[in-house]
């Protein structure tokens, strides 16, 4: 019965996503490849629309898709609903107990002006027969998807006690290749893949390693100015498009990582053949060197409290994860298992790292979670070329890059490994995801 629900609902999801999405750029669609099958049963009633024609957004569908993607809920199919209330007063709880819903989401979308809408929503506990929470919004049409994600965040928090991560954005890189050229685009989209925007486009100049500023206004990334120069780090204001190189550096710069307070950036600088980690003050450009080893030291990432950096170093002979204090002292090796470990970053609690791990013996490159307290690694994926994992801001989901056949796609796996989804772009190869912590 659960498998039927999942298949039925997934099909319904894809149809409604297709019906309501604007099509300015080639966009991501979400295909659920594995489901938990034992989540909390929730009924999300399509929001009542009082207006002419179709509603500008299907708020209920967006909320349902968010909750379903988390892997913690079973969304009951609307075709099974015996009634369609839009507020608590209209709810007959018996109708919902009959289909075994534990929680009920109802709401209304009303046009109140030229480009002005009212959204109201309530979350109800079916067995206790009471309202758990509700919200009201008055917004423009362009903000309706954000409102839906805020509703999802509220529902997620009420049901799990964990802050939601649905009202966030992702950055990623796409690459399209024809006979002679490779076209790169740095893109920003909502974390459900909608409303993709092109931030940067280059021809034959690779783009990699996007990194969000904590306030969500800037992206740092790595690219090449021209055919004569090596990699450099750029800061770009997402709203205005203004961009600059971080500093005049002798050699090349890459692997930018904003500090949690947004004032500093850790990065990798290569000069005279030596690759080391530096911390730069964003405002002044002042550089402090963190590693001095002749080995490759790269991919710095900050702990949530800003006191530590983890990074990849091959000073032992193969790449592994090391940790240093933010001033470069106290360097110690963290990962002892596996043939190689690289690309680590912290979860929001500071207790875990997500990273790329290769266990050796032909296993390939997979996504692993490393527990700092025990030194243990859990491998979450089973690809062979999985990379660039990034945690959601609530630590429940990991977005990463993988291959489907030859094609690069993004995938998400729940931090406990139970639920996995593919986010598929229609044209081109997708890679290098980064998940914002703010909208």
């Amino acid at each position: 019965m659960t498998a039927r629900i999942i298949r039925h609902f997934a099909a319904w999801l894809l149809l409604s996503a297709a019906a309501f999405s604007p099509n300015a750029f080639a966009k991501l669609t979400i295909e659920i490849t594995e489901g938990a099958g034992s989540g909390i049963p929730v009924a999300a009633v399509p929001f009542k629309w009082t207006g002419n024609g179709s509603p500008p957004e299907d708020i209920g569908a967006i909320v349902s898709a968010d909750l379903y993607r988390s892997g913690r809920f079973d969304l009951l199919p609307p075709s099974d609903f015996l009634s369609r209330p839009s507020e608590a007063a209209e709810v007959r709880y018996k109708d919902w107990r009959l289909i075994k819903a534990e929680a009920l989401i109802v709401g209304k979308l009303t046009r109140t002006g030229e480009d002005q809408y009212d959204v109201s929503f309530e979350l109800l506990d079916v067995y206790r027969e009471k309202v758990k929470t509700g919200l009201r919004f008055s917004v423009k049409g362009s903000q309706l998807r954000q409102v839906a994600h805020q509703i999802s965040d509220r529902v997620f928090y009420e049901m799990t006690g964990i802050e939601g991560a649905f009202n966030t954005r992702i950055a990623y890189v796409t690459m399209q290749q024809n006979d002679t050229d490779r076209t790169y685009q740095l893109m920003v989209a909502d974390s459900d893949g909608h409303a993709p925007q092109q931030i940067l486009k280059t021809t034959n100049l690779p783009v990699l390693s996007p990194s969000w500023s904590p306030n969500g206004q800037w992206l740092a990334y790595v690219s090449f100015s021209d055919e004569q120069s090596g990699a450099n780090v750029w800061l770009q204001d997402i709203a205005s498009g203004q961009r600059r190189r971080v500093a005049r550096i002798d050699g090349s710069a890459s692997a930018p990582a904003w500090s949690p307070d947004g004032r500093a950036m850790a990065l990798t600088i290569s000069s005279s053949g030596n690759t080391d980690i530096y911390v730069m003050q964003v405002a002044s450009g002042e550089l402090k060197r963190i590693t001095r080893d002749p080995a490759i030291d790269t991919e710095p990432a900050w702990s949530p409290d800003g006191r530590y950096l983890v990074f990849t170093s091959d000073r032992s002979g193969r790449p592994h994860i090391y940790r240093a204090k933010a001033d470069g002292t106290g360097i110690e090796r963290l990962t002892k298992e596996g043939k190689e470990n690289a690309g680590a970053s912290f979860d929001p609690s500071g207790e875990r790292l997500v990273m790329v791990t290769n266990r050796g013996r032909g296993a390939g490159y997979q996504i692993g979670v490393f527990y700092l307290a025990t030194g243990r690694t859990d491998v979450l994926t089973d690809g062979t070329l999985d990379e660039s994992p990034t945690f959601s801001k609530n630590g429940t989901m990991i977005l990463y890059a993988t291959k489907m056949g030859r094609e690069g796609v993004l995938a998400a796996v729940s931090a406990d490994g139970r639920v996995r989804q593919i986010l598929k772009l229609h044209d081109g190869d997708v890679r290098e995801p980064a998940w914002s912590v703010s909208r």
Partner: protein, 182 residues
């Protein structure tokens, strides 16, 4: 200055002859565009500092001499290859590098670019550093044989510019390389 020899041949990479892969052509140009990403904004996007004009790629010239494709001539080989995760040169690669070093040392004023590359396994940033290490390894040999440091420029593209798109050791071994470009 580059057109000393009778035949100028745009040779791409040694790997082309082997793999015949269309994706390995050297590109004609490169450009950058920045978009104003605000929905409904009325301000123009301003990309500071960069033009969107094509810049020409460096010319690639094979020093052919008299015969066509004399593969025994190490100076005619412009690519050297590496083992996985390594920046060490094989004895054959060493021979090629030394030939180029001697050519450069006896032609002061010639400049060379060493482009380092890696196969796709491992993270992109690590591979950027690995490409750098490989290019630098060749550069060190050049310098030890009398080529002045300011005649040499090293650039790494990591795994971003593969010549072979396969996902097996045959393809990967062609991508782990340093290209010697004049």
């Amino acid at each position: 200055m580059m057109r000393r020899f009778g035949t100028i041949v745009m040779v791409l990479l040694l790997g082309v002859a082997i793999s015949g892969c269309a994706a390995s052509k050297k590109k004609g140009g490169s450009s950058v565009e920045v978009e104003d990403a605000t929905i409904g904004s009325t301000t123009d996007s301003t990309a500071s500092g960069l033009g969107a004009d094509d810049t020409t790629a460096g010319e690639i010239i094979v020093v052919e001499g008299d015969s066509q494709g004399d593969l025994d001539d190490p100076l005619g080989q412009r690519v050297v290859y590496f083992d996985f995760d390594s920046a060490n040169l094989t004895p054959e690669a060493q021979r090629v590098v030394e030939a180029h070093a001697q050519y450069l040392a006896s032609n002061p004023g010639m400049a060379v670019v060493l482009e380092g590359h890696a196969d796709e396994r491992g993270t992109r940033e690590y591979n950027l550093a690995l490409g750098e290490r490989r290019a630098n390894s060749v550069s060190q040999i050049f310098q030890s044989l009398g080529v002045p440091a300011d005649a040499i420029r090293t650039i790494s593209y990591g795994e971003e510019r593969p010549v072979s798109m396969g996902q097996d050791e045959g393809a990967w071994s062609l991508n782990r390389r340093v290209e010697i470009l004049y």
